[in-house]
């Protein structure tokens, strides 16, 4: 993986040095923090996250001609980052959500509905949950769930999230709903 990242990085940097930035401006660099944050939650590793962000920018430069100025640069960079992650990291990681959120049986929603009726206990726990517990719960979700939650948290619309993850808007909607429900279920367990 490190070699692939290095080669892509060198190739990208060569394009950068040629000034071949296409429609990309330096404002792309302003998204380094948000890209790195998503990379951290995807890779579980600061080092891998750094490599992933570097390669994301390198690939962005090599694909600069495909970017249309004025469109959502942040979403475009997120898409590159996620695709890079899927192509290079996913097979190395254990994915807790086997089959993905889209394959969750509709009947399981009924169980969640029953839990919704448990009164104010869940609300109290959600009020008291700390950052470390939220992070641990989020990291225990599958990649698809983590991605849609984090992209939604970044303020992307469902349409933009759909462009990033490459699926229909309706799928994003249901995927996000189920991901949040799964996160709430985990947080109920973590809370005292």
């Amino acid at each position: 993986m490190a070699r692939d990242v290095g080669e892509a990085y060198d190739h990208g940097m060569a394009s950068w040095r040629r000034g071949d930035a296409g429609g990309l401006g330096r404002e792309a660099l302003a998204y380094a923090d948000t890209l790195y944050n998503l990379a951290r939650y995807l890779t579980h590793s600061p080092t891998d996250a750094e490599d992933l962000v570097q390669e994301t920018y390198a690939r962005a430069l090599t694909a600069a001609h495909q970017y249309t100025p004025g469109t959502n640069l942040k979403a475009w960079l997120f898409r590159i980052l996620r695709n890079t992650f899927l192509s290079q990291y996913r097979h190395e990681r254990h994915n807790p959500t086997v089959g993905g959120l889209d394959t969750v049986a509709p009947t399981s929603q009924g169980v969640e509905q029953a839990q919704w009726l448990r009164g104010d206990l869940e609300l109290d726990r959600l009020r008291k949950v700390v950052g470390e517990e939220i992070e641990r719960a989020l990291m225990s979700l599958g990649e698809e769930a983590r991605t849609v939650i984090l992209l939604d948290l970044e303020g992307l619309t469902e349409v933009e999230i759909a462009l990033v993850v490459g699926c229909p808007v309706g799928t994003v909607k249901s995927r996000l709903s189920r991901a949040r429900a799964a996160l709430r279920a985990l947080l109920r367990d973590y809370a005292p």
Binding site: Y41, E122, S177
Partner: protein, 262 residues
């Protein structure tokens, strides 16, 4: 509105994605459904926890600096093709100016300094010969007596193309030094004038490349310094420095006899 429809719209409502009519319908449902109201409250608390308490990992400063350093600089607004190329042409023109003007001047001055140094050394060595009470290690009985004398005393075999004659009799030879290396010293006379010829290894010396004059079949640097005329030339691996206060024309005649033939 059913509970499923309401719960599917909770997040849309919080993200401002519902039209007023749908939003009003949802609010009406939440007022009458405790389960959906609870669900709405739980979703709001989850969003609050994620937005306010989920650790946010900022990119390391080193990564940001690296990315910023590598990212291409923006082209100035309004820059046309000429401005775009100007980024490269201006530095290129500056480099060309350096190459065309500064470098030749620097080379010329370096060559002049090198020639001055070698001439000064030749004159100084000649003055040592003149000042020495016993300048010759071997008195001449002819070149065939002098040349063999150097065997074992030098790390090279001096090549002399002129044996001396009545106009320029060979007085003898000695071992001396030229700059950092040993030299074979041959002393000729022209009437009452002493002429010194230094023969040494030519490699690694700053031989002047400009202002050369044809001497014999080669090129030589001829100059006058402190009243002495010196003629410097190379012949293969050996270097020659001929120095004297004799008439320059006479020295040129001797140089012609000593220099390689064309």
């Amino acid at each position: 509105m059913t509970c499923d429809e309401a719960r599917n719209r909770l997040l849309d409502a919080r993200r401002g994605r519902l039209d007023p009519e749908a939003l009003a319908a949802l609010r009406g449902h939440l007022q009458t459904c405790a389960a959906c109201a609870h669900e709405d409250a739980a979703e709001a608390l989850l969003s609050e926890a994620l937005e306010g308490r989920l650790p946010q990992h900022a990119a390391p400063v080193a990564l940001k600096r690296r990315l910023a350093a590598e990212w291409p600089r923006p082209v100035t607004a309004g820059a046309g093709p000429w401005r775009r190329w100007g980024r490269y042409l201006v530095p290129a023109a500056a480099v060309a100016a350096v190459l065309l003007i500064v470098v030749p001047l620097a080379n010329q001055r370096a060559s002049e300094r090198a020639a001055t140094r070698m001439v000064a050394e030749a004159v100084n060595d000649h003055l040592r010969i003149l000042a020495s009470a016993h300048p010759l290690d071997i008195e001449s009985g002819g070149i065939h007596q002098v040349k063999p004398w150097f065997e074992g005393r030098l790390d090279f075999a001096p090549v002399i193309r002129f044996d001396g004659d009545q106009d320029f009799p060979l007085r003898g030879g000695a071992v001396g030094y030229y700059l950092d290396r040993k030299a074979a010293v041959f002393v000729f006379n022209r009437r009452l004038h002493t002429i010194s010829l230094f023969v040494f290894r030519a490699d690694g010396l700053p031989w002047p490349a400009r202002g050369l004059q044809p001497v014999g079949g080669g090129q030589a640097h001829v100059t006058t310094s402190r009243g002495f005329t010196s003629v410097l030339w190379r012949d293969g691996e050996l270097g020659y420095a001929l120095v004297s206060d004799v008439d320059p024309a006479d020295l040129a005649r001797l140089a012609e006899r000593l220099a390689p033939k064309s």
